[in-house]
Amino acid sequence: MSPLQSQLHADKRLTERAGYFEVSGAHLYTVLHEVRNPAARLLLVGPFASERHNTYIPLVRWARYLAARDIEVLRYDYRGIGESTGVLDELTFDDWAQDVLLLSAWLAERSPAAPLVLHGLALGSVLAGRAFDSGTGDALLLWSPPANANQALRSTLMRWVGLEQIFKFGNDRRSTADYIRALEQGSPLEVEGYEWSTRLWQDSFGFTLPQTLENEQSAASAYQRPVKITRLGKEAAPLAKGGSVGYDDLKDFTWLFAPHHDWIAEAASKFNKVEAHAAGH
């Protein structure tokens, strides 16, 4: 049994509450990894559509890892995806950005007060980064942030095309460029059961990560709040590109979780000291 598994076994007392959060015309599926007196609260903004499925187990384990260490976590499904309701074809990046703000507000209002960390992976990094840029959250943790939503979609598309090609021979095989061309010419594309519209593809170019979040240095000078940016390598699959779905999900991610937990704890501790100092004056 790995150290992480032992830890999880020891933490059966942790409470996880699944629920539906009502937004305009839909219900967001949420799971709160509840902590009684949290050192911090973290909103986990996961990746898009089919990547949600591929990263599900590691992200649930990450949430449990943090909750076992006094960080309360709220994870959720994008509107129109997974357990959340809503019609994917009708939704826009702005809808998903709004969901981040609504859930952040809900989490920040929980009692007792604790610093709020926004944490995104892939497209979730763009959503979390934009929310942070607009003033939401006390700290920001980004895993593999793309420069814009299109990069996230493109990465998903490339992985899917790779899978598709397993079943095709010779001229039947289509390249990523072929699929992109079709999308740009107005044909929707089904990617692992999700229909991508031309509108979604076109909008994705304009849905960008704030330039100040390109690296930690520029973020440090732009915001007076802690920001950490980690680019995950293929050893982090399925959280990053590479590996095999269904086989890499269950591996031990303690090497990734531990340092990021430490960073969150330190950011929260600094924030709490500043708050205490301000209250003292």
């Binding site: 598994q5 999880l8 539906y20 499925h53 599900y56 649930v60 357990e83 090609q165 269904g246």
Partner: protein, 331 residues
């Protein structure tokens, strides 16, 4: 936060010391058939490590549709998967192929059947989920039927060597590779002929045994096949052992097995055309085998049409969605 929407409810069930989390799709007309009404529910299991929504949220789509047609539908994460508690083996595929999830799935079926208005469950599984479904059905009196999507009856290698992957990729890309691949298939066919009806060395004998138990006992089973690599219909690729034919033979004359090939689907059945075809087939099959209470004519039709093994042609997407004609089953 709410626990339910108009049609869905989040539920937790304690099974064999693990808290399993799932979604219940409330059936239409619940409570309108009077006190003591009993319905057969559909229970979806995880496909390998996928969460209970399944690829492209296809399981949600199917569950919602069956509920609309009056069948309670449950989607659950087994232990260590999705949102459920517990750990699972790091050799997940081997664990599943050995029936590792069967005790949980069977206990879950029992737990759900103990609920008001549920007379039993049809267990639905895709790929590795179908292996669990068969194992669970063999050890579970509450299982009224099985829906198996692209089941396999051998012991696949979890991860092929990288060299093999690269070779396969080259074969698929080049015309010479294709030619060599065809030659390889013919060599395999020759070996297959020489071996006769002997099972391949990597057959999942334990699973085949459980299959024989449940299928020969007359459990209604609906099996879907998606076109495989270099394969047509439900037939395997040239040179590969025909497991479908084998399991139909094992099932015997009294079995109630229906095989449907969904020509428009990929292996996940999550693409639009594939999932629609699957939905229509399952709805017809449910109506025939588990007619809503009080529908005597349907029950009669079902008993007439389902008492033999059927092996159908491909499912075409043009089939009328509203069709509930059980005669379709015998095509």
């Amino acid at each position: 936060m709410q626990q339910a929407t108009e049609t869905r409810e989040l539920i937790e069930v304690e099974v064999l010391g693990h808290r399993l989390r799932g979604t219940f799709h409330r059936p239409a007309g619940l409570g309108t058939r009077g006190v003591g009404e009993q319905r057969t529910a559909v229970l979806f299991l995880n496909s390998l490590a996928l969460p209970r929504a399944a690829t492209g949220d296809s399981a949600i789509y199917w569950a919602a549709s069956f509920a609309e047609h009056g069948y309670p539908a449950f989607r659950f994460d087994l232990q260590g998967l999705g949102d459920s508690d517990g750990e699972t083996s790091t050799d997940l595929l081997d664990f599943i192929n050995a029936g590792g999830y069967a005790p949980s799935a069977a206990a879950l079926a029992k737990e759900l059947t103990a609920r008001d208005g549920i007379s039993g469950v049809v267990i639905a599984g895709h790929c590795a989920g179908s292996v669990t479904a068969v194992f669970a059905a063999a050890s579970c009196r509450e299982c009224n039927g099985l829906i198996l999507m692209d089941p396999y009856f051998h012991l696949p290698v979890a991860k092929r060597p990288e060299v093999r992957e690269k070779l396969s990729d080259w074969v698929r890309r080049s015309s010479v590779g294709k030619m060599l691949s065809n030659l390889y298939d013919r060599a395999k066919l020759l070996r297959l002929i020489l071996r006769g009806s002997t099972l391949p060395g990597n057959a999942n004998v334990a699973l085949l045994g459980r299959w024989k138990n449940v299928a020969a006992a007359g459990l209604p089973i609906l099996m879907f096949k998606a076109p495989g690599i270099k394969a047509t219909g439900s037939k395997p690729r040239l040179g590969e052992f025909d497991y479908i034919q084998h399991v139909l033979k094992l099932a015997g004359r009294k079995s109630r097995v229906t095989v449907k090939t969904v020509a428009t689907a990929d292996h996940s059945f999550a693409n639009r055309a594939g999932r629609d075809a699957v939905r229509r087939e399952i709805e017809n099959w449910l109506a025939c085998n588990f007619p809503p209470q009080g529908s005597e004519s349907s029950a009669h039709t079902a008993s007439l049409s389902s008492a033999k093994t059927r092996h159908s042609d491909s499912t075409k997407p043009s089939m009328p969605p509203s069709s509930r004609d059980c005669a379709l089953e015998g095509r």
